[in-house]
Point group: C2
Chain length 379, copies 2
């Protein structure tokens, strides 16, 4: 038995002591939040290299995504959604609540939508107002290439790009300044290692221009009101989770102390090691093309004859390593390792790989397995 | 200087050590939430004496209120809003996003809408589908009498009663079983002493019947979807603040350990002492009629010639007692003491009353004041 749990799900991630201290510090438990909220806004903009404005809303990341769609999209606007699976499909359904003119390009499991398909669509629909996508399709670990996509979109159309970056911000370089997106949304319980409960929205200048022209309805999903309240009165239209705002500052400071570039590199390396090791064990990866493998999540197909439930339970009960089942097309066929933030570290990864190896052995799934390929433990 | 801060705002309230431990316990920092969510649902229903169903959503209490309106009200439904000030007016504005057929009865500052006015309206509008109100108007401390109101509503109409109980649940008896309301919404950072970040909705059977008939749109504000996800799949459509779900259980357990009736009595007594003492000091209370004084908030008019900002700053800098300014009609004229949950205790109240007395003296606002009326400190 290992001495502690290794939570390797795609979030919430293990929370470092410094963040626990920050969310329970004396200051964090007082009701005043204006100062810390202002500081957080600057920090989240820095994380995604943005001019423009940020908004932080209490709730799951989903509320930030929906608020962005509700606030930016007019019912008659043509929207293209790029889907690489379950979460992309969910985004498509959500956009349909806010536009009567939605199209979807869908990739099969383990792939992303190709740039040529996007190009073709935009040439046929030059009046497309928004392109919306989930940066990392969390059920497969497929990562869209925002640089390539944004280049094509900018070239052909005036469409604004809305990206759900829930499991990528902090792990994959994203720059609003460079035009990778016009609006990004993320939660805090992934790479940032926070308890869940805050949704972050960053709007670039293009998105703000659109917002200006919009007559936003509603309250909690109305980004215009969140911005106006803050800018005109210095407070928010609904009490935010004050203590999490304090935690968020600490969480981002931890990242900047390590260096954002170093954090990107760490995630990339961890992902490469996991992928190489699993292949060495004879497991089939869901993402076959390295170029679209997210540095934060790896999904692999289970050997025939074992249920995801049994495999995950064995890992948890014997080794205290928690992996996650998946959803959509791959449900029951594949399972997922989350490796982001504090779980994208070598001790977590080594233990996870050893535990997977021993589970395969214990369950007689790889009968020929004789040794743990130690060459991967020399990072 | 006192040894510590006395946070006497209308929430967030001081957070007890047991709750801090609960939200940072090992279990609370793991991603699994189904068990604790199920336990919380039962506990919140018990708090408001309800059959029916509960839903807990990540975010400010506002998101729960708006989700309830968005999910229950059809655009053509006639809705009556009862407003006793700023928050009642905000509710009216919010209902307008979801109905084209909204009326408001508004009381002047320091009063509530009379039962006879409600009766008159309902007799003239027997097709009213919903009556919505803010149980305690937090800017004045006026408390609507739900027993009386619900009796009149039930007598004349089939209207369902939606009540924002954000600063009353746990401090004022509310019973869905007795028909005081059909839907109640509250946050957790008031009487429950939690950090903000969860909205709780409890729907009685009448409200559930309405929900059945509704075609709900949207995602995060769609209560039907929250219920369906939970009941059919055993999880939620957006990651909830898992650690707060653990805190909530502890928070409600703390209340039940003291005994819900005892907690009601404590709030009532604290409120009576504060009101009597302030009157003794010669200050004018915003709520003159004891029957509509909330046991959780007391607002009083400032003596002429002093700004709310100066008074509050003096209390904070000299005594570490934090009171709150108010909004709406009373802004600048009155300030507020929140006394709820852990601040509805005699040490907090004594210190607050002494600090107010000494502030009046220091600022030369009550020149004739010679002694602190100690008879009030013999609780």
């Amino acid at each position: 038995m290992f001495s502690r749990e290794y939570i390797m799900t795609p979030g919430p991630t293990p929370i470092p002591e410094r963040i626990i201290k920050a969310i329970t510090s004396k200051e964090a438990l007082l009701p005043a939040y204006s100062k810390i909220y202002g500081e957080d806004l600057e920090l989240v903009k820095k994380l995604v290299d943005a001019d423009g404005k940020a908004i932080i809303i209490g709730g799951g990341a989903t509320v930030g995504l929906e608020a962005t769609l509700a606030s930016l999209i007019d019912f008659k606007d043509k929207v293209l959604v790029l889907s690489a699976g379950f979460f992309g499909d969910a985004l498509y359904k959500m956009v349909k609540y806010y536009s009567n003119n939605v199209y979807v390009l869908r990739a099969e499991a383990g792939k992303t939508v190709s740039v040529s398909e996007i190009k073709k669509f935009l040439n046929e629909h030059p009046d497309t107002k928004f392109v919306a996508l989930t940066h990392c399709e969390t059920t497969t670990g497929a990562l869209f290439n925002l640089e390539e996509i944004s280049e094509v979109v900018r070239e052909i159309s005036d469409a604004k790009i809305i990206v759900d970056c829930v499991s990528t911000v902090g792990a994959v370089p994203i720059s609003l300044r460079k035009g990778h997106a016009d609006a990004v949304i993320f939660g805090v319980q992934k790479v940032l290692n926070m308890p869940p409960g805050l949704a972050v929205i960053v709007l670039g200048n293009n998105a703000l221009e659109v917002l200006e022209t919009r007559q936003c309805e509603g309250y909690y999903l109305n980004l215009k009101m969140w911005l106006n309240f803050w800018e005109e009165r210095g407070y928010l239209p609904s009490t935010p989770p004050v203590n999490l705002l304090h935690g968020l500052k600490e969480a981002i400071n931890i990242i900047f102390e390590e260096g954002l570039e170093n954090v990107f590199k760490r995630h990339k390396k961890v992902s490469e090691i996991i992928r190489a090791y699993l292949k060495e064990l004879g497991l089939r990866l869901v993402i076959e093309n390295d170029n679209i493998a997210s540095p934060t999540i790896t999904a692999f197909y289970l050997p025939k004859g074992v249920s995801d439930k049994l495999f995950i339970e064995h890992l948890w009960s014997k080794f205290k390593v928690l992996l996650a089942k998946t959803y959509g097309d791959l449900e029951g066929k594949a399972i997922r390792i989350g490796h982001m933030g504090s779980s994208a570290t070598m001790d977590y990864v080594y233990i996870t790989l050893i535990a997977i190896t021993l589970t395969l052995k214990n369950l007689n799934l790889v009968p020929s397995l004789r040794h743990i390929p130690v060459e991967y433990f020399t990072f």
